[in-house]
């Protein structure tokens, strides 16, 4: 069960895994995620289904190493099995033909963006995608994204690839030059916060896919809660996508750091145990 059939390194810290999960491959839609746990003492963490192959019965996850659990998963190899895998979870993306969509992915956020870009394109939209990363090596999935985009703009902080600048610079350029009917932004919370502020200036309706801390992923614990339009929402069942202009990103940024100290310790311990 849940056997890894392919593994690929996009960069030192970003890994793609293709995993046997026939039921999930068949049931999932763009926007869905899974909860994964590695080892009996592992933690349950959410990961977006970046792609699925129902014929082959597999799903694809793209994982960035940020702490102990993401490292445990990316340290697995072809033939290994995930201890627990459950899904698909969350509400699927609402896909509609709206005209021109500006899709913005920052860092590993490009992975969850991929199925959405694909679905938007197939629904007949003109899709302009901006991929942003700190530096050239961190740009991922460019080819796959290009397949479903009318135009791909790459932005790097250091200018080592594509244009030099932040994702918001690229977004402004597009919104200045043409009418954008909708934007989708996925990436680190801080990026989504500023991307949402940018599209607000241009009055472009915007969807953000939120990556809060989760435990069960089924609406049972409330760990994932955030404030949207003044109301408390559970990201795992009400989301993960919300109207970006209504999300309280500052609160989300604080909540993401709730376990930072402990997590850092756990990661260092894990790295040490691997060295031995």
């Amino acid at each position: 069960m849940n056997k890894i059939v392919e593994k690929e390194h996009f960069s030192e810290n970003v890994v793609r895994l293709e995993i046997e999960a026939p039921r999930i491959a068949k049931a999932r839609r763009a926007g869905h995620f899974v909860i994964v746990k590695v080892g009996e003492t592992g933690e349950r963490i959410p990961l977006t289904i970046a792609a699925a192959n129902p014929e082959r019965g597999t799903i694809t996850l793209v994982i960035q190493k940020v702490g102990v659990s993401s490292r445990r998963i990316t340290d697995l190899n072809v033939g290994d099995e995930l201890t627990d895998l459950v899904g698909p979870l969350g509400e699927a993306t609402h896909i509609e033909k709206v005209g021109t969509v500006l899709a913005c992915g920052g860092g590993v956020g490009v992975a969850p963006l991929l199925p959405i870009v694909e679905a938007l394109k197939k629904a007949g939209n003109r899709v302009v995608t901006i991929l942003a990363a700190r530096t050239k090596d961190l740009v991922i999935l460019e080819e796959q994204i290009a397949e479903y985009s009318d135009e791909v703009i790459i932005m790097t902080d250091d200018g080592s690839y594509g244009k030099k600048g932040l994702i918001t610079d690229g977004m402004k350029e597009v919104m200045e030059r043409e009418k954008v009917d909708e934007a989708v932004v996925i990436g680190p919370a801080i990026m989504m916060k500023f991307a949402a502020l940018t599209t607000k200036e241009y009055n472009v309706p915007t969807v953000a896919s939120l990556n809060t801390i989760m435990v069960d992923g089924t609406g049972m614990c409330g760990a994932c809660r955030i404030t949207v339009g003044g109301k408390t929402k559970f990201v795992c069942v009400d989301g993960p996508e919300f109207d970006a202009h209504q999300v309280d990103f500052d609160e989300m940024l604080l909540r993401l750091n709730g376990y930072k100290e402990i997590e850092k310790g756990a990661e260092q311990q894990y790295l040490k145990s691997k060295d031995k």
Partner: protein, 465 residues
């Protein structure tokens, strides 16, 4: 009958708060026999009317009195699938024991029915001679159980006895529902639940964890795979919050999250990856079993101050009497007639203070309990670094939201025929918290049992007209 009610042995409070050891140590055989002698074997045993599944109480107690402990366990199992669990967690003081002749007619302490039930069930388990119920020859009919809490497990056992091919689907990675992720080890050790699950496996029941019906596969998918009957025991879900200012600060969590981290994910154990922050000053909001379990967990995780903040008075507190007593012995502070109104945080967003308001009791409300009314100008602040909100849960929305044609109430519970427990979808039956809102283990089990009997009739009528 001058005999006094037996006293249950307990691990000393200052010892037990250092670990997860079970608080109640159980009765010895002699203690059990002595207590059993107190039972008057009433010709009209009113105690039975207090038990939601009508266990034949005098009959099993008689067996204990005679020293036939395995027989006593067998009597229990005629009606209850999980006697070792119910003996520990039933609110006996409101159920069977409340209706005991001693209590009703003599104003004396009732027979310790719960302790005796636990004794017989534990004796059987520890004897290694646990009886696996006989199952009928396989009839080849596939039925699906959604959720592995007490309702689902009881239903599965009864259907297996009738010869059905039963599969239990569970969303989480462990079997047992609230018995595993909610009720702590110091009250209900997991090993006891596991024995019951093993028994079901021996009876041929199959379990699929990490499987969310309605998501991983729909009811339609399962029908295509040959399932002909469905029982939904999907329990309670969404935790409620109070919607007061500051409630989303770091360090404020639902009791579901707190207990799940500790019980399901074993977060307090440094060898596991799931983190938990349990502070020095922990406030738990609420007065039910869930609140009591959370506050006593906080104490065990090292809190200096572990407090219950409850808006009514001690008398109205819904938790089991024994849990309140144990909590008091463990040094839990009870702030009753007190209600939080706002939270404050430090510069990192972590909760640092809760502002509370005193309450007084007014006229009785719909539940018959006197309604708490805020006292103006009585606010004051308490320093806290962790807050556990335990003010109730709503029914799990996963099944209703994936089945629009399923009839539900406006509270989100599934509508069933009261007797048959059949839903508006004829081949689907339901029971436990998803039907009752918040209830008890024994009521969930009773539902599982009744639903199995009705589904058996329904399928037999349908398949052999």
């Amino acid at each position: 009958t001058a005999l006094k009610r037996v006293h249950m042995g307990e691990v000393a409070p200052n010892e037990r708060v250092k670990s997860n050891v079970e608080v109640n140590t159980g009765l010895t055989a002699d203690e059990a026999i002595d207590e059993a002698r107190r039972c008057l074997d009433c010709p009209d045993p009113t105690c039975i009317t207090g038990c939601p599944v009508e266990i034949n109480i005098p009959k099993f107690i008689k067996r204990i009195e005679l020293g036939e402990f395995l027989d006593a366990a067998r009597v229990l199992k005629e009606t209850s699938a999980l006697p070792a669990v119910c003996g520990r967690v039933c609110p006996q003081e409101k159920q069977c024991e409340a209706k005991c002749f001693y209590q009703v007619k003599m104003q004396k302490e009732p027979v310790a029915i719960g302790y005796l039930e636990r004794f017989a069930a534990d004796y059987e388990r520890e004897s290694g001679q646990i009886s696996v119920p006989e199952v009928a020859a396989p009839n080849g009919i596939k039925v699906a159980v959604i959720g592995s809490g007490p309702a689902g497990l009881t239903f599965a056992g009864d259907m297996a006895k009738h010869g059905y091919d039963v599969t239990v689907f569970e969303a989480l990675h462990q079997i047992g529902g609230v018995l595993k992720y909610g009720i702590p080890e110091f009250r209900l050790p997991n090993s006891i639940v596991d024995v019951e699950i093993d028994n079901l496996k021996k009876m041929g029941v199959k379990f699929e964890t990490n499987f969310i019906v309605g998501r991983t596969a729909t009811i339609e998918d399962l029908k295509e795979e040959g399932f002909q009957g469905f029982f939904t025991g999907s329990g309670a879900g969404l935790p409620r919050f109070m919607n007061i200012p500051g409630e989303n600060y770091i360090g404020i969590l639902s009791s579901n999250e707190y207990l799940t981290r500790v019980n399901l994910m074993d977060a307090a154990n440094p060898a596991t990856d799931t983190p938990i922050i349990s502070g020095k000053n922990v406030a738990v909001i609420g007065g039910g079993n869930t609140a009591m379990d959370s506050v006593r967990t906080a104490k065990r995780l090292g809190a200096d101050r572990a407090m219950i903040i409850y808006r009514r008075s001690m008398e109205e507190m819904p938790a089991r009497v024994e849990e309140i007593k144990h909590a008091q012995e463990e040094g839990i502070e009870f702030m009753t007639l007190t209600n939080p109104v706002e939270y404050f945080a430090d510069e990192t967003g972590r909760v640092s203070k809760v502002r509370v308001q005193k309450m007084e009791l007014g006229e009785p409300d719909a539940s018959g309990r006197r309604r708490p009314v805020p006292m103006e100008g009585s606010e004051y602040d308490i320093e806290v670094d962790t807050v556990v909100v335990s003010v109730g849960v709503s029914p799990n929305p996963l099944i209703p939201s994936s089945l629009p044609q399923l009839e539900t109430t406006r509270w989100g519970t599934i509508v069933v025929d009261e007797e048959k427990l059949q839903t508006s979808i004829p081949e689907m039956f339901a029971g436990g918290d998803i039907v009752r809102g918040g209830a008890t283990v024994i009521l969930a089990m009773g539902d599982g049992r009744n639903a199995a009997a009705s589904m058996h009739n329904y399928l037999q009528d349908k398949l052999n007209p």
